[in-house]
Amino acid sequence: MFSNYLSSIEGISVFPVVSLLIFFLVFILMVIWIFRIDKSYVKQMENLPFDMEDENRKL
């Protein structure tokens, strides 16, 4: 069937493995980022849509 067409490409089987690795790396990096965020910073960010700069933006 169609599935055989690409089997002739050298090293094609590495593609899915590379994809998986890239995804995991990105995901883990992201989780690390998120756990390192400061709480007061989160508060500032989530209030950006509101005009409450005096209370929240500690400039």
């Binding site: 069937m1 169609f2 599935s3 067409y5 690409l6 089997s7 002739s8 490409i9 094609i12 089987s13 593609f15 899915p16 590379v18 994809s19 890239i22 995804f23 990105v26 995901f27 992201m30 989780v31 980022w33 998120i34 390192r36 965020i37 400061d38 007061s40 910073y41 989160v42 500032q44 960010m45 989530e46 209030n47 950006l48 849509p49 509101f50 700069e53 500690k58 400039l59």
Partner: protein, 706 residues
Amino acid sequence: MMQIETFKYDNKIVKYFTIATVLWSVVGMLVGLTIAIQLYAPALNFGIPYLTYGRLRPLHTNAVIFAFVGNGIFMGVYYSLQRLLKARMFSDFLSNLHFWSWQLIIVCAAITLPLGITTSKEYAELEWPIDILITLVWVVFAINLFGTIVKRREKHLYVAIWFYIATIVTVAVLHIVNSIELPVTFFKSYSAYAGVQDALVQWWYGHNAVAFFLTTPYLGLMYYFLPKAANRPIYSYRLSIIHFWALIFLYIWAGPHHLLYSALPDWAQSLGTVFSIMLIAPSWGGMINGLLTLRGAWDKLREDVVLKFMVVAITAYGMSTFEGPMLSLKNVNALAHFTDWIIAHVHIGALGWNGFLTFGILYWLVPRLWNTTLYSKKQANFHFWIGFLGIVFYASSMYWSALVQTLMWKQFTPAGLLQYPNFLETVLQIIPMYVIRSIGGLLYFIGVLVMVYNLIKTAKQGKFVADEEAQAPPMVIAPIKYKKGLGHRWIESRPLQFTLLAAVAILIGGIVEMIPTFLVKTNIPTIASVKPYTPLELQGRDLYIREGCVGCHSQLIRPFRSEVERYGEYSKAGEYVYDHPFLWGSKRTGPDLMREGKKYPNVWHYYHMNDPRLMSPGSIMPPFAWLSENVLDISTTAKKISVLRKLGVPYPDGFENIANNELRKQADTIALDLTNAGVVVDPDKEIIAIIAYLQRLGTDIKAKKQ
């Protein structure tokens, strides 16, 4: 004490885009309603080519996606971006240029698509001059957006802006890669890719157009307008980071799920499926983030119609993004593909997610722009309920129709024969569902009309504020000290690095998916008996494209017993190598045509094209009588042959000079055959070319067998 700067937000451009959003929503949905009714009343095209289903369907999809949702995006972006960045848009001139050229593109689409000027690639139908215009306008939008970011007064970019940036970058990449085509004339081009390759590029585009035009910008709008409407911050800012990065990273990989059981290699299909399943996580993360924003404040829903619309929109987003991955499972896809299930799926997204979120934003925004309150809450509530009911009617009838038809397609008798060998039988069975669908569409449309009235009344009772004054201190250059490490905030205050990272995230998936796309061409076993189209067939094929036949007829027989039994030998990748563009289709409102060639005599096709119901009583195909009247334009033949040769179709050198002689010879043969069967037609008519093309379909393989 820091100096406070006074400046003005540009509300005029927001007003323009608001009006355009409302106007095009009416147009797009009216066309949609028309073609929904045409499906059970084909006479509704009044015998006019420009009003025929095949030509109006792309008009409907383009109008809803690029005109309604497109203007909705710009409306929301131009409003929220200025406020989130505490700055007026970078350039009023660019804002206006953006607005007017985008409307020009829409008008061009509304003119060219009914005229049959189309590339036939779904959601990318517009021909090459318009493609170039789209690219230019997108650049204008990008300069304006990034320019505003540069002169911002707020250091940190809110999550909504990340989504806008990802949208700009990705749509640019998608549009350019999928639109690579070689012009024949000002109104006609051939896709640079052929067959399987073209299909892969197209559905990589098609999938991600849904992702980065209908989803990410609207998520950005959700992250801004939902907290504004609910007057409370988003449930979790941390979750929004995960939502953003996981979503843009994963989305781009999932395209191959549109091509399950096709000529795509198995591992790529599986990759598409796996990433589609993983997509549930960030999508639902986003949905939960939206819904939980209302935690402890659900009682507001009783009063606030804006929130009602938004909550249903976000729920529809959740349903759609759960259904999508389910549809990408091969066993589910085997049932759902080519049926109305897909129509139901996209309309949950379009009517529920995009439509309702836009309406919610409009009801929130218009009173603010005109500095007043909503004219009638009652009417808005009526709009909500009738729209909601419309969606329910629409979706349930389409799911039912899909289940009935797909099971009929696959039903065998105990003796091992197809229970419903006549495709038409399965169509007649679902006509009542088509009627109910159009009623659902009508209800939804009535709701929109009520909204238009309500919004106009609102605007009239208020006073528009073109330049809204605001105050903010200039941006601080010195870094703000926080207790903990660098974290995500480093990237959030650096738009350039942020954009690069987002581009990398989408490109990885794109590239890994595209490499096989470009390799596959050289790896398709050529089938010796598959030859390029003759000049007449080529012209016929372009008529097939012009009439939008691909909107209802697939040319892809999947390797299932039920399909091979019904249509013939399943499709091979090598059969499509000369197809610029590919014409696999995505919906079988009529039967597959892959092996249509030589199934019926020429005269059958002649009568069938003129009046389908003459040959197939009850058929819902519109008549194409003008094909027998129009004279085929053969002035383009030589140029078409030359262009296709440049793209790799092996026409011998100098063939373009004799192509029209060959064309006339073949046309004479068909005309003679028709005359012998009792029909006198001039050989120079369009019908002859389209018959030649239909009779060629799939016969290269049949010929080999003999």
